[in-house]
Symmetry: D4
Subunit: 251 residues, 8 copies
Amino acid sequence: MNPEQLQKLMEAVREGMVSPEEACGRLKTLPFEDLGFAKVDHHRSLRTGMPEVIYAKGKTSNQVARIFLSLTASGVNVLATRATREQYEAVKQVEPRAEFHEIAACITLNQKGDPTQTGIIGVVCAGTSDLPVAEEAAVTAELMGNRVERIVDVGVAGLHRLLSQHSRLQEASVLIVCAGMEGALPSVVGGLVGVPVIAVPTSVGYGASFSGLAALLGMLNSCSPNVTVVNIDNGFGAAYVATLINRRQSS
Amino acid sequence: MNPEQLQKLMEAVREGMVSPEEACGRLKTLPFEDLGFAKVDHHRSLRTGMPEVIYAKGKTSNQVARIFLSLTASGVNVLATRATREQYEAVKQVEPRAEFHEIAACITLNQKGDPTQTGIIGVVCAGTSDLPVAEEAAVTAELMGNRVERIVDVGVAGLHRLLSQHSRLQEASVLIVCAGMEGALPSVVGGLVGVPVIAVPTSVGYGASFSGLAALLGMLNSCSPNVTVVNIDNGFGAAYVATLINRRQSS
Amino acid sequence: MNPEQLQKLMEAVREGMVSPEEACGRLKTLPFEDLGFAKVDHHRSLRTGMPEVIYAKGKTSNQVARIFLSLTASGVNVLATRATREQYEAVKQVEPRAEFHEIAACITLNQKGDPTQTGIIGVVCAGTSDLPVAEEAAVTAELMGNRVERIVDVGVAGLHRLLSQHSRLQEASVLIVCAGMEGALPSVVGGLVGVPVIAVPTSVGYGASFSGLAALLGMLNSCSPNVTVVNIDNGFGAAYVATLINRRQSS
Amino acid sequence: MNPEQLQKLMEAVREGMVSPEEACGRLKTLPFEDLGFAKVDHHRSLRTGMPEVIYAKGKTSNQVARIFLSLTASGVNVLATRATREQYEAVKQVEPRAEFHEIAACITLNQKGDPTQTGIIGVVCAGTSDLPVAEEAAVTAELMGNRVERIVDVGVAGLHRLLSQHSRLQEASVLIVCAGMEGALPSVVGGLVGVPVIAVPTSVGYGASFSGLAALLGMLNSCSPNVTVVNIDNGFGAAYVATLINRRQSS
Amino acid sequence: MNPEQLQKLMEAVREGMVSPEEACGRLKTLPFEDLGFAKVDHHRSLRTGMPEVIYAKGKTSNQVARIFLSLTASGVNVLATRATREQYEAVKQVEPRAEFHEIAACITLNQKGDPTQTGIIGVVCAGTSDLPVAEEAAVTAELMGNRVERIVDVGVAGLHRLLSQHSRLQEASVLIVCAGMEGALPSVVGGLVGVPVIAVPTSVGYGASFSGLAALLGMLNSCSPNVTVVNIDNGFGAAYVATLINRRQSS
Amino acid sequence: MNPEQLQKLMEAVREGMVSPEEACGRLKTLPFEDLGFAKVDHHRSLRTGMPEVIYAKGKTSNQVARIFLSLTASGVNVLATRATREQYEAVKQVEPRAEFHEIAACITLNQKGDPTQTGIIGVVCAGTSDLPVAEEAAVTAELMGNRVERIVDVGVAGLHRLLSQHSRLQEASVLIVCAGMEGALPSVVGGLVGVPVIAVPTSVGYGASFSGLAALLGMLNSCSPNVTVVNIDNGFGAAYVATLINRRQSS
Amino acid sequence: MNPEQLQKLMEAVREGMVSPEEACGRLKTLPFEDLGFAKVDHHRSLRTGMPEVIYAKGKTSNQVARIFLSLTASGVNVLATRATREQYEAVKQVEPRAEFHEIAACITLNQKGDPTQTGIIGVVCAGTSDLPVAEEAAVTAELMGNRVERIVDVGVAGLHRLLSQHSRLQEASVLIVCAGMEGALPSVVGGLVGVPVIAVPTSVGYGASFSGLAALLGMLNSCSPNVTVVNIDNGFGAAYVATLINRRQSS
Amino acid sequence: MNPEQLQKLMEAVREGMVSPEEACGRLKTLPFEDLGFAKVDHHRSLRTGMPEVIYAKGKTSNQVARIFLSLTASGVNVLATRATREQYEAVKQVEPRAEFHEIAACITLNQKGDPTQTGIIGVVCAGTSDLPVAEEAAVTAELMGNRVERIVDVGVAGLHRLLSQHSRLQEASVLIVCAGMEGALPSVVGGLVGVPVIAVPTSVGYGASFSGLAALLGMLNSCSPNVTVVNIDNGFGAAYVATLINRRQSS
């Protein structure tokens, strides 16, 4: 029951075509979405600027291509994360404008053009092994309309490199900091800036890193109070929240 | 060495009072903060509106009172978390304006008056057992100059109560959601709103809740992409980040 | 807005007192519970026979007594779990009919009389140390209107005692099996009967029992396919589900 | 020693062919099953309507086919779980009536025809990645003679979709709810219905989901008291217990 | 039904007082223990030389005394583990012959006199902090009729002390080795002897010992193949098994 | 320096060929084994009847064959565990008498003939999936000179099968019980017999079995006091200790 | 048997007082330490400068005093760790020269005077809550004859304070870095210096710090290769190793 | 800005070419490393004798070869750890002097010749399965200019082999001890020597070794106070720290 139908029901009541009792019965049992409770559907409200997203891992190339194509129709940006080159080739067949980001393992289609946010999202990581997660975050953030600054190779064991990027860190409206091993980078970066830091533990490491658990625990116990944490390797989620924060500032 | 001193040194060089070699020597070895690298000292930049904070747990009443008093001098707000009534009595002796928040276990001194942020921070929790953490977040956020809305008694097992608060949830600029046991509330709330949700796992529960571990893992694996997580029972940290986010929107 | 109010609104529409547009507006925005969506409020549907419940742990005697009294008003049974004798004394002051179950640590008020379910819930445990959890389950089940059979002292290391209770086990419509240490009892009992077995790990044990974790994992890995598991020490929850199952059979 | 043999022994005693002493000796030492203790053999009592089951994982196609064939002889339904298409092809060679359920990874042979239970088992899951576990539960439940309703794509981050299925949820006699990641769905569903909910954590997720541990812990700590839990990915076990519960109602 | 009753039943059959059919019926349904299945009751078979045991922890002094007294009646030895001096005082009131072992936290009553096993059980531990567990094992083993040799203060970080006890180690028929911290002692001792070594991890240690987990894991991974493990702090269980092994040798 | 050499040195001292000082020097510095401290070399003392053992996993077929051959020289039995058929083929090339045990994944060479122990080692397991571990134990025990009884398919969910093997269980001098999933079998078996039970957790299971952790914890917390535990899947170790225990009895 | 005795034995052999056979017998069976194998007794070799140590936790004041007194006899320094003021008062009664270090919870007796090592051990920690562990390390190191520099209040979230101590960090021969929460400080310090860094995780923190586990894992995964780790809160152990390293440099 | 540039700037100020204000501006904003803060760049200070290092795992053969070549330019030694033979072949194409260490999985280029440290680093391990980690440590230590002694096949279950290496152990300035399974070797070795012992847990083992966790916990809880620990399998890190310690002694 959409608003028009509701309006008609009320008119029918007024005109005596439907009794009040009958109207009560219908109103109580109809499915919620039919009430036009658009506010329940957060997707619609969020979609302004947010891409449609496919989690490509475990899907066949065919499936990814088919879903990708169907999502392009609405004119929004489309993003496939954890994608392989093989999946990309299949997508490209049906949507030649799609681009592949090798390190980020992302397929993107940008139908909405240039960044619309004026604030900058800084994406920080220590070394080359954290790059896939950092790039997933960066590519996602760009497709969501943000200006993105990448600051890499700034591990805590070589502070001078991190400090030399101090001014770039301070220009960002929000920072995404990816780190594996001991996961100390977000704490150190958090101490250098006055904006929210979203920490992404990566599964990089061996032995007692326990696939990112060490980094995760480290970040949750950060002594910098401006740090929050997302799941291990969740570059996408970090970019999503960073976009919401950045969007506020820019509007 | 502050900017004035640096200026004087340079003038002394120009005037020949200090040789270039001697100036080089001094510049290389002086402590960083003396260089006037204000940007390194994030505390100063953050302090506009941020209270001075004391972690009262494990400190004697005397210590808390002494530290509290010393922090009031600079005119900023002061906050003591994890405080007992006994500690408060000691503080009150030296600073009669201090207030005690029983459930939040916080002592506050508000020297800066009414909220300065126009955005609202919503603090959400399911039941009475999560209240101490939620109140720590709410009291902290208020002292940091935010308008705060408390939305309690909205557990996921009684959706109608949560849904009846839908419009209040949507008015917030950022939400802090505290939950123990299975920690599902942030996911559900995250799906209802389009703003960042900061999830705070609480140590409420028994058995396989493992002192908040179950809630923590649940939140890290949230299927709502706008959720980030802080440490178990860390209401203070959640309020800190929420303030940074709210501040952006309001400015 | 309860059903009567909804009825009145519809009548007002029919009578032209309220325009259809205005009625649409009110219907869309009113809180869900006001719509009389009784189906959303599962509590009501479940309450037929279900007691009102207070989790007494961490509450003052005063609080328990006050809540207890308020719940008696509706005429349903009332149950306080994890209660102390001291809390009971306070309750007794305001509600002399309340009873205390020492081992179960429960306070009950039975306002609804004898069992209404004809099926039997069997509550099984191995030894005296599991008794508090088993009794919490048994007392809860009784207050929910079930006939309860207690079968104790039947550990897996003395099969003859368990086997001698075989016919009693088979008379039950559903079984609650509490066990600490290795938690093997539900698997063995599950193999002896053809009804659902609800396994309750208890925190009984020491060393590598890790406060019930060993029993919990054992039960989750049960080789008897009729076993499901609830949280450690959760006798109440087991009784709740057992009641739902028993009720089906009996109706 | 079957009942006939026992009868003969007793007759031999009466006729003086066997002395009482000798009879005592034989009775004490004979194997239990020979005593005709049918009640110990729960399998027989359960088999009315329960399929014979093969855990196909780790078995060769040949082994699966051979076991499958042998089980069909007794005329009951046969189920192979965690089966591959290759194993199915082998089974089909020897039993052409066997069917393969791709997503459920199950091979079934239905020799007993249509559902015999009038109650409905609802099988609920959030997304496509939980489908294999949900389908294992659904296919198993159907083969055990239940009417099954599948309710998919109803994650907690999009409540409107779940709420729109409210009436279908309420028609079920028992619900199986499969969820990975934070495992919050059973709690939310549990709050919407008044029947037992069997929660199945799935190993879906990454990072801190720790192969289903996060979902498992979440479900064990559910704030809905009508939730019990089975092992991670154990769709079969959930269907087994749900059948026992459903059977009670229908009889 | 004890053997005499069975004998009588058979005689009644022979004499025609009971029909064979009736005898069959009784035999099928009577409780197992009534059949005189003494072999099912392992307690009886084990009791030759085994004390009756009370786990005193969590019991009142009164309870311990009452149970203790009741067990003395049968003339066997009696052992209360994890007992306090207060509990002992209560026991002594009712059974003056009872003895208290302070370090072992055991109350014993020896009604059967001197060791009956000729083999020696060696009880080994590294330092004073492991002594309570080692003494529980030693006192238990003595009460079970074994000759016991205590070999203490032989940690792996001071091999010379351990090696100086080499001949004593080799005289034992079975060794109980208690160790906390890294739990390495059983491996080293296991390499020095050719008899079974029962390793008892103790909860001694701090930090990453995790209340005995480190020692437990170490012992389970022992590179000496003659090592088996019991639960953390389970001196009693170690002595029990050691007695069974020693008994074999001596008989 | 072997005993003969020591004897010669002493004689040389007596005869004045070697001065006391020189003798002291030699005695202090010579390697321990040269002193003829045979007691330190437990291998020798244990080898009577113990096979030489190769852990084949991770070794090339060539390596296994070469080591295997070298060990046959001394005339003792030889055992390779965790071996593949491919490795066996390589061994067979160089030692045609070697045998392969498919399920146990063991290669054996029996050069010492029939069992020398009169006692029986019972090897018990629940189902086919635990067979590889049980067979490793059984094959090892046989090669170590024991008579071995295999008792399989006796899971705790079907007690009648286990009970029907009661007399066979009681004939064993020591029992090895292998179980995965909840690991309850050793507790139940332990309650039926009066001999030592060596429990072997297997990595069989899925989900919350965590590769044998659930079974391991269950066994460590066994309520049967005659149970000790070895590492997950360690059939070899169980057989080794069982042999030591059995040997005692038989001698 | 000390060297003199060995010498005498050899002389007795030479003189014919003891036969070679008898000498062989004695040599084979005598306890190792009697052989004068001083090298096995590492304690002696280490004691030059190392204090005698008492782990006071769990000991009575009386016990601590008595042990303390007995250790002073040999003239070495004496250290009691994890000591209370009450224990100190008891020690002071018997040894008035003993000193108490409140924060370190250590009792010391320095009988050997000023530092003998010329190298400096730097003891670094972030905040006041890590001080007890840091002080245990510092007091221990001083008593072991080292010069100690304390560098406190240098957390990673305020890099400027750490960097301002850069030159002091670089003057140390070895650094002990204590940190709780995320445990990032050793990595950052490790990157600033070229000497070994001994990391001590502290149990400071709450929630997901899991009593120091987060810090421990962080330190084990340090990206600075000059970091090694000791047990949680093990300030004593860190000082012990640091002394060994410092001693090398100074000699 | 290097020292020369700073010198020139100061001269320009003196000569009036640059105003003091302009100089202040430049000094405040220039990147840290440009200030010539050589002390911040620890790499330079450490590089004397330290090789350049590549973590080869996860890199293509091409990448390894290209990076390797670029690092050889500066004339220092070059080390690639966790390398495959295939990667080595690629390196050899571009740098024929490179050597491959099969067991250590390391590629090395020694451009600096013979050991420069006079002290010895002992590398100890128990068996062949720990050899890869031990060899990584040994090869690394050699390339860093140390004399290295390998002491293998000295497990704690065969003490005589370890004790026969006693004098070699005592000749080392620092010891690296690698062990899997129970990880007891460092404790035992630590008790035999008076120098620092760096313990390296290896992931060798199965079942409850949990990929090295058992060994790691064992080492952290070592009762030998001269033991510190690095990450699981981190032979490189152990060699790095050992070199720093050895270097001190030798200088």
